[in-house]
């Protein structure tokens, strides 16, 4: 019996030799890591680094140009006893809560209207985005003119219509000032809600509505039992983004009132700016900014858990 020695299979002459890098990239784990690297670098540079730097600053007595020494939780103790900080916390919570409720309600209403077919639909959809597109500082300056104690066009109009007999001190009265900044925030935020919710509405199959209508469901019942449950996950994500943005709002209040009168519109961000930039106390500014973090973290965790629960069901 002859044995034919089976030679080891030789590589096909035409196949190029694979280098170590190619071999490494053929491993999906390494390839995935490589593809993730740019994102990781961006996140690290623009999110992780500033956050870590913020934490570092908050436990030092750093000032502009002075690195500072480690002081533990002294800055947190200081802001805990700071009356203006307490006012800023309260204002920020009221500002965020009221603005979010109104933005959601008006945004949903607008989205439902825009979801209907009507003449000039595309134009209207583009038009309502304007408040969101215009740079905040510019639109806020326009609002500042409209709320101007002396030259307010709103006062002029109400006066002409006979609604008021003396001018309304929109930004000078502490309660009205907070209401005014909330109005501007709602005006600016509604388009974002409307367009995002409209996108959500358009993913809902019309057949579901038709089926419900055939079963005798009226408009409100169709909204309550068909539209709303299907729109809820999208809504929660939008609210999550909005709460984070509103909580950290700065430009609007900075331009309209600078936090005044007598801190009636002072928010976390404006107060952090006042201390960090206006006084050069970087550590205290960072501490105030960081004080927002646990609150926002809690909001995010609760909302994400709720979203998961909604999606599971």
């Amino acid at each position: 019996m002859t044995f034919t020695t089976l030679a080891a299979p030789t590589a096909y002459a035409g196949t190029p030799r694979r280098g170590p890098v190619t071999r490494l990239l053929e491993d999906e784990r390494w390839l995935a890591m490589l593809l993730l690297l740019p994102t990781l670098a961006l996140l690290g540079l623009f999110i992780a680094y500033p956050f870590v730097e913020g934490v570092r600053l908050s436990v030092t007595d750093a000032k502009v140009g002075v690195p500072g020494q480690f002081v533990g939780l002294q800055n947190f103790e200081r802001i805990w006893n700071d009356d203006i900080f307490h006012v800023a916390v309260w204002n920020t919570c009221v500002y965020t809560a009221v603005a979010t409720v109104f933005k959601l309600a008006l945004g949903l209403w607008l989205a439902l209207l825009l979801n209907h077919h009507f003449k000039g639909k595309a134009f209207t959809r583009a038009f309502i985005l304007l408040p969101f597109i215009i740079p905040t500082v510019l639109s806020t300056l326009a609002w500042k003119w409209m709320f101007d104690p002396t030259f307010s066009v709103i006062n002029w109009m109400l006066f002409r219509l006979g609604v008021i007999h003396s001018r309304i001190n929109w930004l000078g009265d502490p309660h009205l000032a907070l209401i005014s900044v909330i109005i501007v925030n709602v005006w600016r935020g509604v388009p974002f809600y409307a367009i995002a919710l409209l996108a959500g509405l358009q993913t809902i199959s019309p057949e579901l509505h038709e089926a419900a209508a055939i079963d005798g469901a009226r408009a409100w019942q169709r909204f309550r039992h068909v539209t709303w449950p299907l729109l809820l996950p999208v809504t929660l994500v939008i609210v999550l983004f909005s709460v984070i943005q509103t909580f950290a709002d700065f430009q609007l209040v900075y331009v309209l009132t600078g936090g005044g009168p007598a801190n009636a519109t002072q928010l976390f961000a404006t107060y952090a700016y006042q201390l960090g930039i206006g006084t050069g106390l970087l550590s205290q500014g960072a501490t105030i900014s960081l004080a927002v973090f646990p609150v926002l973290l809690l909001v995010v965790i609760v909302q994400l858990l709720y979203i998961r629960q909604v999606e599971t069901h």
């Binding site: 502009v64 006893n81 709320f147 104690p149 000078g172 005044g260 201390l275 930039i277 206006g278 006084t279």
Partner: protein
């Protein structure tokens, strides 16, 4: 064929270029990383606020800076930004160690950034000697641990701009001097539909510009001269707050609680208020456009405007002028060029051109400018000349320290009055402000 590599080529070309450059040729130039002197242009970057007198910015941009470039052989990048944005710019520049070479500072800002600024004592010594010496307030803000940390440029400040005819209508041919006279005149003015216009909002210039001197005029002060002992909660301060409530309710435009630094300018020029504490910008604007700003009788408003100091209280009358100081940044690699430029621009003929363009909006930083002919051009602006002499700085009776800046940035003194006019008991608003000051100065 002889192969000439890159190094060899550089050496050869360097040897050939010796005649052209004593510095050792291309190789040396490359090694030094600098262009040869004849090809090299030093460049400096100067940041200032957007001036309330636009003609002065125009003059700097179109004439003085180009002239400086020619005389000094350097490139000068001149940039103007909103005054409210300067501190953000300074902070980012210092923290990153990169940015403009010279930045204009207002109030006591140089003290906030003292350790990050270059020593410019050599320049200020020269200018000070040549120009009759700096005012004390420039020294208080510009000197840190015995060294000058900025070159004082000028001093800005406010006086009360008022409508002569409206004051005369209520029996005040001469502007009211005491606070009681202010109250009397203000009540009548408001009844006539021409209230006093004064901001009580969070705005950097006009709000502290009135309420700090108001406090001082009653004998109130933040701290003792040691700069530590808070003494705000006194009978004098409480009296000042009580009077402020009456003054506000009886005499002032309530919209002032929301005013920024430009609101009173607009209100005055629109004829809705009779008097306001401000820089000379209201008058200068009315003067620039005599056909646009008219009185109710159709005459140019400029002829009906005059200036006076704010009221006098038991302790006297004061002002809060703000020194403008050019800071040469510590990180700058062009400190020498920056100093040369400042030295040049402060020479009398050059600076005089700018000073004249201000028409009296600012005072000089040195006493020499008190005698400048600009003060004889327009008698309406002449009262601004004496502002530095009645001036105090924030933090009085202590130095204009970081704590004083914090008190101002938090608007504690302004809000003490704002809270009271909004309904808080005077004793409580003073107590609140005192406690806030104690925390700041702790």
């Amino acid at each position: 064929m002889v192969r000439i590599d890159r190094r060899r080529l550089l050496k050869l070309s360097g040897a050939g270029a010796v005649a052209a450059s004593a510095g050792g040729g291309l190789a040396a130039i490359l090694a030094s990383g600098r262009a040869p002197a004849y090809a090299q242009t030093t460049s400096i970057h100067w940041v200032r606020w957007s001036d309330f007198v636009p003609a002065s910015d125009k003059l700097l941009r179109e004439k003085i800076v180009p002239e400086g470039e020619k005389v000094l052989g350097m490139k000068i990048r001149f940039e103007t930004i909103n005054a409210n944005d300067i501190q953000a710019r300074v902070t980012s520049a210092i923290q990153s160690g990169n940015g403009p070479d010279i930045i204009m500072a207002l109030n006591n800002w140089p003290q906030l950034y003292a350790t990050s600024l270059a020593d410019v004592s050599d320049v200020t010594d020269e200018i000070g000697k040549a120009h009759g010496g700096y005012y004390d307030m420039c020294k208080a803000v510009g000197i840190y641990q015995g060294k000058w940390i900025g070159v004082p440029w000028a001093i800005g400040g406010g006086l009360v701009a008022y409508r002569k005819s409206w004051l005369a209508e209520v029996g005040y041919e001469k502007f009211p001097v005491t606070w009681d006279q202010w109250h009397d005149a203000g009540k009548k003015l408001k009844a006539n539909g021409h209230p006093i216009g004064q901001t009580l909002g969070h705005t950097f210039g006009d709000a502290p510009g009135f309420w700090y001197p108001y406090l001082w005029s009653w004998g109130g002060k933040e701290v003792e001269a040691d700069g530590k002992t808070v003494v705000l909660n006194t009978k004098e301060t409480v009296e000042s707050v009580k009077f402020a409530i009456a003054l506000w309710n009886d005499c002032c435009d309530p919209g002032g609680l929301a005013w920024d630094d430009s609101s009173n300018n607009r209100a005055f020029l629109a004829g809705t208020i009779s008097l306001t504490n401000n820089g000379a910008s209201i008058y200068l604007e009315a003067k620039k456009k005599p056909d646009s700003y008219l009185t109710e009788s159709g005459k140019p408003m400029k002829d009906d405007i005059s200036h006076a100091p704010i009221g006098t209280g038991a302790a006297g009358h004061f002002a809060l002028p703000g020194p403008f100081i050019d800071m040469v940044m510590g990180y700058s690699k062009n400190q020498k060029a920056a100093k040369d430029f400042l030295r040049w621009i402060h020479t009398k003929p050059v600076f005089e051109e700018w000073f004249t363009s201000q028409q009296g909006y600012t005072d000089g930083a040195t006493r020499y400018w008190e005698e400048d002919p600009v003060w004889d051009i327009d008698p309406v602006l002449k009262p601004f000349r004496d502002l530095p002499n009645s001036g105090r700085l924030m933090g009085y009776a202590g130095p204009p320290s970081q704590q004083a800046a914090e008190v101002q940035t938090k608007y504690i003194i302004v809000d003490m009055y704002a809270k009271a006019v909004q309904g808080m008991k005077p004793e409580d608003s003073v107590k609140w402000a005192h406690e806030e000051l104690v925390k700041v100065y702790a």
